[in-house]
Amino acid sequence: MIWPVDLIIMVLVMICGIGAIMVRDLLGAAILFGAYSFMMCLLWAIMGAVDVAFTEASVGAGVSAVFFVAAVFRTSRRTKD
Amino acid sequence: MDTLISIKPLLAVLVSLLAIPFIAYSRSPNVREGWTFLAAIVKFGIVAAMLPAVLNGMEISCSLVEVLPGLSIAFRVDAFGMLFALVASFLWIITSVYSIGYMRGLDEHAQTRYFCFFAISLSAAVGVAFSANLLTMYLFYEMLSLATYPLVTHHQDQEARTSGRKYLLYTVGASIGLVLPAMLMTYHLTGSLDFSPQGILAGTASRGTVALLLFMFVFGFAKAAIMPFHSWLPAAMVAPTPVSALLHAVAVVKVGVFSIVRVITAIFGTDLLQTFDLSTPLLLVASTTILVGSFIALSQDNLKRMLAFSTIAQLSYIVLGAALLSPKGVTGGMVHIAMHAFGKITLFFCAGAIFVATGKKNISEMTGIGRRMPVTMTAFFIGALSIIGMPPCGGFLSKWYLVLGALDADKIAILVVLLFSSLLNAGYFMPVVYRAFFCPPEEALFEARVQEAPLCCVVPLVITAVISILLLFYPQPFMNLAVMAAAKFTGI
């Protein structure tokens, strides 16, 4: 565990999280959410939770993001906030 | 006190309930009314069969299920309950006959429903009479409130709807809002709700609590129409007359006062009320109701409304009797249940008969009716006498005992109230009789073709009128029961 890496990832997690809810485009939000999940996965991997990280990588960053994109594709990208 | 275990009380309650499927699925009106009649007679038979044992000082009890720890649905027939059950079940027979005449005479709709709910109401009334504890009583009390709702609103028009609302709101509302918490508080204080001749609250609560409970009970049993919880009764007069007669002169309102007297004597106990000196406020309430009720009755033109206010006043006699806490007063109050029942039902039957025969509801339209319907109006006269409390009618007896009770208790004010209210009673009844009989022929409002109501209507009112008179001379069953009950409750 190297603390600067840790710190950078945490900051990135926060940024991606805030970005995902702030960005005014749902497709962008979906992608940012994927990035958020991936950062989270890195964080967990650093903490030694490899299985959880593995799962999050495949589920959060992978399939969930695809689901979001699919849903956004079937609805609309538009968002007011 | 000997106790008999028997299912007779249960049977007495269930008879009319069991009759309902037969009534509901009868092919023809005749069969249906036949079943009603049969059920009424069987019910009376069962009640009467228990009479000798009760007169011998026995109590008959029957416990069904224990619904709550230490609390069961149980019946216990004592003298007081017997008195009331006897009146109610006997009058059901009479009223059944009358109903047939009235309902057919006016060609009312939904008669099957009417007879069904009538039967349920009677079950409930007898259930209240025979209950061994407050919980059972509450159960049947609520059952009665709900079962009479379709009867009150029988006409299904706007007026019936409003009255039905009022009726439910007062009776069920008060019982949920006041009786239920009072009952629970009692249970919390004493751990029991069984009726006991000496009361169960003694030694468990302070004066303030007892007073609070007392008034929660007295006002909570709104069927007794103690002011200010009285206004449902005149409103409920929209019901068909047999309903008004049986339920609002006999079963419903009497269940109310019966419950109050029961609670005063068997939950609080006369001693406790004496100790805490709570009879005075109770007397005050009752007296107020008597006087105000009578005054309002004076001003009524609608015959049934007038009778309703008269009932309000008369009911408080019973409460008054119990509140006197003296043996004679209690006896008077109890006997008044029977006396008033016979007298008032006669009056209601008369009002109904007049309505069937002429379609008139207002007193002012009844000028000269005595010439056309002499039997009915004679019976009316007798009933009125009984209510006023004049010999040769049964009413005299109960008033007499009430007066004695008041004297015993050294409550001169109550004496004055009683006498004054008798005057008022005379004041609103006599003009009706006078107008009916003693008017110049030219003022009479009725054609010659107006005749007595159908036989089914007339016979019952004659019977009740005759009984009203007979009760003065042969009051034994009721009198003995009342004396026994009063002796037990007051411990003398």
Partner: protein
């Protein structure tokens, strides 16, 4: 001051998790777009997972897979102190599955809503509902 700071630093993972829960909740309450709300919901769920994972962490210890497990079976047992605690990981695997399942259903509903009202904005939906 020193202790406060060290206390702060010693638990920094927990502060992150609190921050993420707050972000997620804010999105769920304040945002009017349904997909945004769903994202917020997922952020809350991952924050909880982060919390659990942080419970299990042990500084400087290794991942909960026993090295050369097969050769040493039964000989000298693994020392609990050497490994990161596995239980929270197990729980969180389940929680991740739950979150993706919830996500699937939520998105399905969002699509259904869009099919019905033609928009994902809550205020616009409210307008559509009140229209007829």
């Amino acid at each position: 001051m020193e202790s406060l700071l060290s206390n702060f630093l010693a638990k920094y993972n927990y502060w992150v998790y609190i921050g993420l829960v707050m972000i997620g909740m804010y999105a769920m309450i304040a945002k009017r777009n349904l997909v945004k709300k769903i994202i917020g919901m997922n952020i809350v769920q991952t924050a909880v997972i982060l919390f659990y994972v942080s419970i299990g962490a042990k500084k400087g210890k290794t991942i909960p897979i026993i090295a050369h497990g097969h050769e040493e079976t039964g000989h000298h047992a693994a020392q609990a102190i050497d490994y990161i605690s596995p239980l929270p990981h197990v729980l969180m695997l389940t929680a991740i599955v739950v979150s993706v399942a919830t996500l699937g259903v939520a998105l399905a509903l969002a699509i259904k809503i869009y099919r019905q009202y033609g928009t994902l904005e809550e205020d616009e939906i409210a307008l559509r509902i009140n229209e007829p």
